[in-house]
């Protein structure tokens, strides 16, 4: 089961103060599915897909498993800065080749600090 944390409870995915752990997965010819929150106990703030297949695209779904897939064209790098706890990546079954990078943030670090002090600081700008 895919867990999702409401985005409103999270800091901005592009917050420069977020410490992330880069995790690399080699893309071959087989599907890659990750329920990131369950497997790593972390949220993913950035997904980078390098499609080294010169012939065929890579299909990828993030965030919402029911959403339409994005397509990374051949010999192209795709980068997405958006919180996601899920990824479903499908390369070509014959020519698939590339690299998947997930920038992972521990859930505690990804969540907004909703203590009273933090709320006051945010209100004060």
């Amino acid at each position: 089961m895919v867990n999702q944390i409401p985005v409103a409870d999270l800091k901005s995915a592009t917050d420069p103060n977020l410490i992330y752990y880069p995790f690399k997965i080699v893309i071959g010819t087989t599907r890659i599915q990750k329920d990131i929150l369950n497997e790593f106990g972390m949220m993913c703030r950035t997904v980078i897909i390098t499609n080294n297949d010169n012939t065929n695209p890579i299909s990828v779904i993030t965030v919402d498993p029911q959403a339409p897939a994005d397509s990374i064209p051949p010999s192209t790098k795709g980068e997405q800065d958006q919180w996601t706890a899920y990824i479903d990546l499908v390369p070509n079954a014959v020519t698939g080749k590339g690299l998947l990078e997930l920038w992972l943030v521990p859930l505690a670090n990804a969540k907004k600090d909703n203590s009273q002090a933090a709320k006051v600081m945010r209100m004060m700008g």
Partner: protein, 118 residues
Amino acid sequence: MFNLTPLGSVQTQAPGIKSVKGTSVDGTALYTCPAGKRATVNGSFLLRAYGAGGRINIAVGGINVLNWEVASEPIPPNRSKNFATDQVLNAGDAITKVQDVNNNATLDFVLNVTEISL
């Protein structure tokens, strides 16, 4: 929504100088020295993700081009390093590999190729 960047896209900066951008590759023809010319290469690397740690040994090589080690030193993550080399490419030589030999890091790179007509 993914922001897309073509790999190995060749852009002409000035007459005789071409710029090739990409991310760690092995097997893609990034640049081929055309007939009637020679070329020299310099460029820069940016480490995107620093994996297992240790020395980063960057190799550039390809068809008719001996693999040459460009840098062998610890390079912190998310940092760039410039390099120059006296490697000369002849007509038909192709660069097909730019990568960390130890497979510790993903490299974003820009190669600047200067062509000289013979």
